[in-house]
Symmetry: C2
Subunit: 510 residues, 2 copies
Amino acid sequence: MATDQAQSEAATSDTYEEFEQRVRRISNVSNAAGILQWDQEVVMPEEGTPARAQQLSALSSVGHELLTDDETGELLAELESAELTDEQAAVVREVRRRYDRETSVPQELVEEISETTANAHPKWKEAKENDDFEAFAPTLEKLVELKREYANHIDPDADPYEVLFSDYEPYLDLETAEHVLEQLRDELVPLIDAIDDSDTEIETDAFAGTFEDDDQEALARDVLDSLGYDWGRGRLDTAPHPFSSGTQFDARVTTRFEEDDLLGSITSTIHEFGHANYTLGLPDEGYGTPLGESRDLSVHESQSRLWENHVGRSRPFWEHFLPIARERFPGLEDVSPEAAYEAANQVHDDNLIRVEADELTYHLHIVIRFEIERDLISGDLAVEDVPEVWNDKYEEYLGVRPETDAEGCLQDIHWSHGSFGYFSTYSLGSVLAAQLYDAAEGELGDLDDDIRAGEFGELNGWLRENVHQHGKQFTTPELIERATGEEYTAEYFLEYVKSKYGELYDLEEY
Amino acid sequence: MATDQAQSEAATSDTYEEFEQRVRRISNVSNAAGILQWDQEVVMPEEGTPARAQQLSALSSVGHELLTDDETGELLAELESAELTDEQAAVVREVRRRYDRETSVPQELVEEISETTANAHPKWKEAKENDDFEAFAPTLEKLVELKREYANHIDPDADPYEVLFSDYEPYLDLETAEHVLEQLRDELVPLIDAIDDSDTEIETDAFAGTFEDDDQEALARDVLDSLGYDWGRGRLDTAPHPFSSGTQFDARVTTRFEEDDLLGSITSTIHEFGHANYTLGLPDEGYGTPLGESRDLSVHESQSRLWENHVGRSRPFWEHFLPIARERFPGLEDVSPEAAYEAANQVHDDNLIRVEADELTYHLHIVIRFEIERDLISGDLAVEDVPEVWNDKYEEYLGVRPETDAEGCLQDIHWSHGSFGYFSTYSLGSVLAAQLYDAAEGELGDLDDDIRAGEFGELNGWLRENVHQHGKQFTTPELIERATGEEYTAEYFLEYVKSKYGELYDLEEY
């Protein structure tokens, strides 16, 4: 009996090892593609595109074939009926999910989507430049159809939008997301109105002026130094659309510098630090398996938003950081920490552009896209009607109507990528950031003094222990519940913004 | 009859297309690995190594499996008995060669070599630092054994060193290489002696002084501008050991800056330009197949040496370039083009270090390594006797005896990589450079006026047409014969150096 059991354990262990080797190989091919993408955005000469496109396509199809190979299916089936450790079971769960999804979509459809999005990008760009929605509409229509078809292959019984959403956020269900977004809409619209009606004038010109790129870069490095970025495993570069990418051994940050937007460069750098810092907190020994990979987009965004907003837009942060900024920019000599804080938290209710939005109006930009996407995918909204519905919603939620589609429904690149269901993770992450920050302060006590002293180690230690180190071992709801002791909720975010902006704008009712 | 033929042609065309797709995929995976290697040398954070090693290993084994798959063998067999165009036949020939070699070596041996070299590198480094050959000897012995075994799998009937040599230079046979190296030894030793005995003093301190990195970088960019480097498909960075890499869409140069060695940075930049310029001359439409890949190491080195030596160490080049250099370094105001030319062509017969050698003594460094490698692999020389034989040969050929193994047989990294048979391609390339340069001048007329005017277009056009654009369509001997009308020969190189150094050092007998 003991011998039988020992034999069976040994067999499982061999099978698991073979499985893990396969998983690591797939992951390494995908991480290699990540380096090629970083290279393309940051250092590749401009005419390198044709070769790069072929290289990325080769890695993607090699990875797909390794994952969807019959052998992967056989190993999964064998392991699912074996005795596994919790960690092993988590790896099997994550790979199973990807395997099922990738095997259910015919390769021809994947290629058609890939080709259509490749062509959609220049079409979208041209349409935006010419403010000509009709030129993009047929492509958008085609993408909506293809993505519906894609969702139908994965789960013919499910709401297709739910399937698409779960590509980005597999474990928070769409109902939860929808509920959170409704709460944001219902609570933020009146809050923003109250700010708009308030007579309180906050300081907005603390960072007015022009700032040299080289000095901005030096300051971005100061920001990263100050937050504790691990330069031995990272680097800072510029990219037109800042992003972070990499692995726990090499998690790189990009940012951008505009001479009249020093604050934008600082907040963007802090945001990307948050992403990279999550990646750097993944366990080394998990590299190559889901145990060493970050949880999905909402959790990733919770990390960038926590650092950007709860740290980087806080009063104590500016008490800490303004003296550092003054060393690079002596012109900031007369700016007070309070003025910097106010400038960093200015609410613009007349803003039409998502990427220029503040911490409050941002979510209404997301709600609008979410509502439109849902109706587009369900068929309740025709592509041709998108501009009007878009403009109506901007008027309703933000009190401002775009005069052109270029600053309306054509502003974002995402739909040209075929990314439907993605936007909401930005808001879901902000909401989670508040919940995590509250839990961290619950355990560590108020963090203001730490931040004022430029000491971020305790906060980061808490995030490492409660979020980063777990990789994908737990599902998102499990991870949240373990870290905070509660289910995922918008309560802390709403509390945070009401209290912060109520005080800042002197709002009686908040 | 016509229909049968049409059907057979269509079938061949389908088979060829399937084959080419496979070849392109393998090539794209390998080019992706090239980007990862560039990244590792140039921009990767220092702690990124563990993940990078796994990524490169995954790409290498994926590429190996795609190449050695039975399907590749079946497609090759089918195409070899079909009617193909010359270009198709060349692709089949090149892939067949790689396929046969890679399928004949057992994967376990490949992995053992890979593991041994991975461990050999730190061992070699430490041995060199401690001047302790004995600490490296067992590893070297193991590598010699493994590479002998490797050669034996590829061709049990051939001289194992010949098999190893043909990994780097498949089409020039070892006998030719050996003959050329003997000629170099026999002719260069007396030439260097004559220089040593000459009373002529040449100017050597034209570039004495210290030079800021930033200014050196600006000048390196001037060099590349001046030679016509295509920045739309390239970039310049620094690396501890300069190299070039990439494809015709993206061929990057690296160089290095030492504050007391401006000349070294300029010549290294020109050398790497020559490599990158070859890559950039490969036909776009051949990308992903051997038709769009460079011929082997000797031809590659001929391109770097042609630009470095025949252009960059010529009198007219310094007449052209010194005024440019003076703009970056006003301290060069009093240096004459003749003094710069002399400094760039100083012969140091007392030099122990290959990478610091001049255009003449360089080849004796190579001859010594070649002779030692041959005897090591054949078993005529025991590893333990390498240091003594090394030192004896330095004394015999260069009249200088290393006092330590660190500046003797431990100086180069190559053996720790298991690279036996590689060194000679450096000399073979220099020899070919002279032959090609002579042929170019034969067709275009004397190029001195062009170079003096900073006009490199005609020379480069000739190289594009006669060398670069052919990719791997022709074997190396075919390529040389088509380009020069003659078989590969050391005659032009020997003529070139005798005439150049005879004049420079005022040698009566030359």
